[in-house]
């Protein structure tokens, strides 16, 4: 069997391979990109896009696109998404050229700032136009960065969810929790970059690795298909005697997994197991059996296994899934308009680049140019829901609108937050999880039966 694996490896699979491009957008995006490159990735092209030339030159990506030559003159977007959008709009042709030929596009962006939040929806829509599968890795700002940034991030996220096949959303706050309280702030940011890098690598390797049971592009698409999908992602790698168990435990520990509690809601689950030539069927069986306990009966498992000599003695497990947020879908689809709205308003204007400082003062300055004209064209989507109150929308950044907008998106921002469930006496004991239900939680609570 080992020999067979080797021969698999010898077959060059580059011809039919899907071309992968990883795009780092804005400051946070290029940080993540640098991290991905440092961690090493094969078979993918890295493209950095930024409006800030300084940051762009320091990026290690091999392809770079400067956004907003005119709009920002090489300075940053100043924390204003509209400037970011204008900048991206200006460089639309260059972006298109950079995206060309890619079948799978990973877009990494830090939301909340100017370039990330403003340009990301546009880039995502352009990528979608190319017919590529678009997976967005978005980071949400720390809560201490202020409500304004949070609101911008939420808005951008809603827009991204309309265009991207999947949005994997990382909350900096949650990832910061993983870092020890004494660690420096740079470490908290580094932790975020690392998680993104890990996820990007894991997904791209699904394609890059010679698989015994290969997970195809189509299967990934099936697992992630649908707008407004909430992404569940986990990756774990371990070595040693008990590596199958350890790797799975690690994957489930991922902040995006919430210890597998979300898994039973998943309809499709992509599981990819990668290991060195010494990976045994028994290990895979143990792993799948353990995983099975977290899944509902109707979950469709798309299983892939790959042998990669580079893995050495390690075994890696990638879990990827999306849950459709049934009822909320229509609601979540509503903010589709956000990017279009940005276009309609406001001609590009010069902005002093005090990097991400005085945004609050700018709130009042925004005027509304309320004609849906050509500028919104690239963003127009068939799926766009007609909105009754089209023209009557208040200016986007009007202060009273912010909390409302944020509140509306709340349901799908719950990605990482779960109501505290009480397990009473079993609080500290090993949970009994069967078919994805935590049996230690009283039945009447789980089945929502009211008792007096």
């Amino acid at each position: 069997m080992i020999d067979l694996n080797r021969s698999y490896h010898l077959v060059p699979q580059t011809n039919d391979a899907v071309k992968i491009k990883i795009i780092g957008l804005g400051g946070a995006g290029s940080n993540a990109l640098d991290r991905i490159l440092l961690d090493g990735i094969d078979d993918a092209e890295l493209v950095a896009m930024n409006s800030d030339v300084q940051s762009l030159t320091s990026s290690v990506a091999n392809e770079k696109v400067q956004l907003g030559r005119e709009a920002t003159r090489g300075l940053g977007a100043g924390g204003d998404p509209e400037v970011g959008f204008a900048a991206a709009e200006e460089a639309m042709e260059e972006i298109r050229a950079a995206l060309d030929g890619a079948g799978l596009i990973f877009l990494c962006a830090g939301l909340g700032g100017g370039t990330g939040s403003g340009a990301a929806p546009l880039v995502a829509s352009l990528a979608k136009e190319h017919g590529a599968l678009v997976v967005v890795f978005a980071t949400m700002p720390f809560s201490f960065e202020g409500k304004r940034r949070a609101a911008q991030a939420h808005e951008a996220l809603a827009a991204l969810q309309a265009y991207a096949d999947a949005v994997i959303c990382f909350e900096n706050d949650t990832m910061g929790d993983a870092v020890s309280p004494k660690a420096g702030i740079h470490q908290a940011f580094a932790a975020a970059d690392e998680t993104i890098s890990q996820s990007v690598r894991a997904i791209s390797q699904l394609f890059a690795r010679p698989g015994i049971l290969r997970i195809g592009f189509d299967e990934l698409r099936a697992a992630l298909s649908g707008n407004n999908a909430r992404c569940l992602f986990g990756y774990g790698e371990a070595e040693g005697d008990n590596r199958a168990h350890d790797a799975l435990a690690l994957a489930l520990k991922n902040p995006l997994m919430d210890r597998g509690r979300m898994l039973h809601e998943a309809h499709n689950l992509v599981v990819n197991v990668a290991g060195g030539p010494d990976m045994t069927l028994a290990e895979v069986q143990i792993l799948m059996e353990e995983l099975g306990r977290h899944l509902g009966d109707e979950t469709h498992i798309l299983f892939g296994a790959a042998v990669d000599p580079k893995m050495g003695p390690r075994l890696g497990v990638t879990l990827l899934s999306s849950t459709q947020i049934g009822v909320q879908t229509t609601e979540a689809a509503a903010p589709v308009e956000t990017p279009a709205k940005i276009v309609r308003r406001r001609a590009p204007e010069l902005v002093q680049s005090e990097p991400e400082a005085e945004e609050i003062e700018e709130i009042e300055e925004i005027e509304e140019v309320d004609e849906p004209e050509e500028a919104s064209e690239p963003l127009r989507q068939e799926s766009r829901a007609p909105r009754p109150k089209h023209g009557a929308r208040p200016p986007k950044a009007a202060p009273e609108m912010l909390p409302a907008g944020a509140a509306k998106m709340e349901p799908k921002q719950e990605t990482l937050q779960f109501e505290a469930v009480t397990r009473g006496r079993f609080e500290k004991s090993e949970p009994t999880i069967v078919d994805g239900h935590d049996l230690d939680v009283p039945t009447f609570l789980r089945q929502n039966v009211r008792v007096k």
Partner: protein
């Protein structure tokens, strides 16, 4: 009284620790000499979580058993459970060399080893491999192949395994008392030895040992074990649900469950309440009877439906249960549980306790002691087979 005839079963349960001292009679029957028990602490869901506390409780129970039975306990059979216990069926095969034309007992051992030659998780160890059937040259239904002619011997085994370290915890607890450890036995397997008779095993029966922390199940059909396992949900969960649902302390909830609880819905008068009295007998909180029963009912229904789904997952064993379902263990005393089991499994259901014993009637007629008495019965069945060393001896030697 010959010491060899004394057999002791020790069950380290979630709610109580129970020691049963039995005497094996030459005619094959067992006389219960004494029972010792102590409320259990430091055990959750059938597994030891606080070693020192659990050990103290074990000691208490042993002392009581020694006093009651007037026997010095030297070695015990220990029952184990826990969600880590899993099982599967596997077939082993061995080819009989051509020059040898008769199947020997040695071949039977080889085939047993062959059946164990499957991969279980690294950390796990085998608890039981229970023989189902032999096949000689593909011919099935062979009960004893020794002496038969054949070129190929195969055998189906039901293999029960669990995480080694967790099993060793129970073993260590016994050794540090100090006592000798004869064997570890899966609780449901032990309980089935005394709850079922051979006829029921042949007809097909499901034993549900619903204890404090876990529900252990075992399926017999055609006289052999077909399936077994553990669901880490038991009476403790009901108590916890009641405590949380009615917002009363655990101890009060436990008392309420035992004294007033029932799984039957619609039996209470509308608005009927139960008055909770505090420790001094003063009236305290009132709870509605129907609410209490609803909480218990929902938990038990869910647990039983889960068990049913588990049993149906691989093969439809439920169709093979001619004798029905036998529930035992402390939680089986819950009022109306047999009717609920009957409704869900659609099979005749009996609340049972250890059968065919003599001695202390109060002991063996209590479903709480089924497992511990079963351990004694198991010990009796194993004890005469001194000829070959049962693999569990390794625990004794390793520690």
């Amino acid at each position: 009284m010959g010491k060899d005839h004394i057999l002791v079963g020790l069950e380290i349960g979630t709610s109580k620790i129970c020691v049963v001292v039995g005497e094996s009679k030459p005619d094959g029957s067992i006389k219960i000499l004494g029972v010792g028990q102590a409320p259990s602490r430091g055990v959750r869901k059938g597994e030891i979580v606080d070693f020192d506390t659990a050990q103290k409780c074990v000691h208490e129970a042993l002392v009581e058993a020694e006093e009651k039975s007037d026997v010095m306990i030297k070695s015990v059979y220990v029952g184990i459970t826990g969600s880590h216990i899993t099982s599967f069926n596997n077939r082993g095969a061995v080819t009989i060399p051509e020059e040898q034309d008769e199947i020997t007992g040695e071949d039977c051992e080889t085939v047993r080893e062959a059946a164990k030659d499957v991969s279980i998780p690294q950390q796990n160890t085998f608890v039981h491999e229970i023989l189902q059937h032999y096949y000689v040259d593909g011919q099935d239904g062979v009960l004893n192949p020794v002496g038969m002619m054949g070129s190929k011997l195969e055998a189906d085994f039901h293999i029960i395994h669990g995480i080694g370290n967790r099993i060793r915890n129970a073993v260590r607890c016994v050794k540090e008392v100090p006592l000798d450890m004869e064997d570890v036995v899966f609780n449901a397997y032990a309980a089935a030895q005394v709850v079922l008779n051979q006829n029921q095993k042949n007809l097909g029966a499901l034993v549900l040992d619903i204890g404090g922390g876990t529900t252990d199940y075992i399926v017999y059909s055609d006289g052999v074990v077909k399936q077994s396992g553990v669901l880490a949900v038991g009476g403790d969960h009901i108590t916890n649900d009641v405590s949380m649902g009615l917002r009363i302390p655990m101890a009060r909830a436990e008392k309420l469950k035992v004294e007033e609880g029932s799984v039957t819905l619609g039996n209470a008068l509308p608005g009927e309440t139960i008055l909770l009295k505090d420790d001094h007998g003063f009236a305290g909180k009132e709870v509605e009877r129907e609410t209490l029963n609803t909480i218990i009912h929902m938990r038990m229904r869910e647990t039983l439906e889960l068990l049913k789904r588990t049993l149906l997952r691989h093969e439809n064993y439920l169709d093979l249960l001619g004798a029905g379902v036998f529930i035992t263990g402390g939680t089986s005393q819950l009022k109306g549980l047999d009717h609920l089991v009957e409704e869900i499994f659609e099979l005749p259901t009996h609340v049972t306790h250890a059968q065919t014993m003599s001695g202390l009637t109060s002991a063996f007629e209590n479903p709480q002691f089924s497992t511990a008495i079963g351990l004694v019965k198991y010990a009796q069945a194993k004890a005469p087979q001194r000829g070959w060393r049962w693999p569990w001896q390794r625990w004794r030697n390793n520690e």
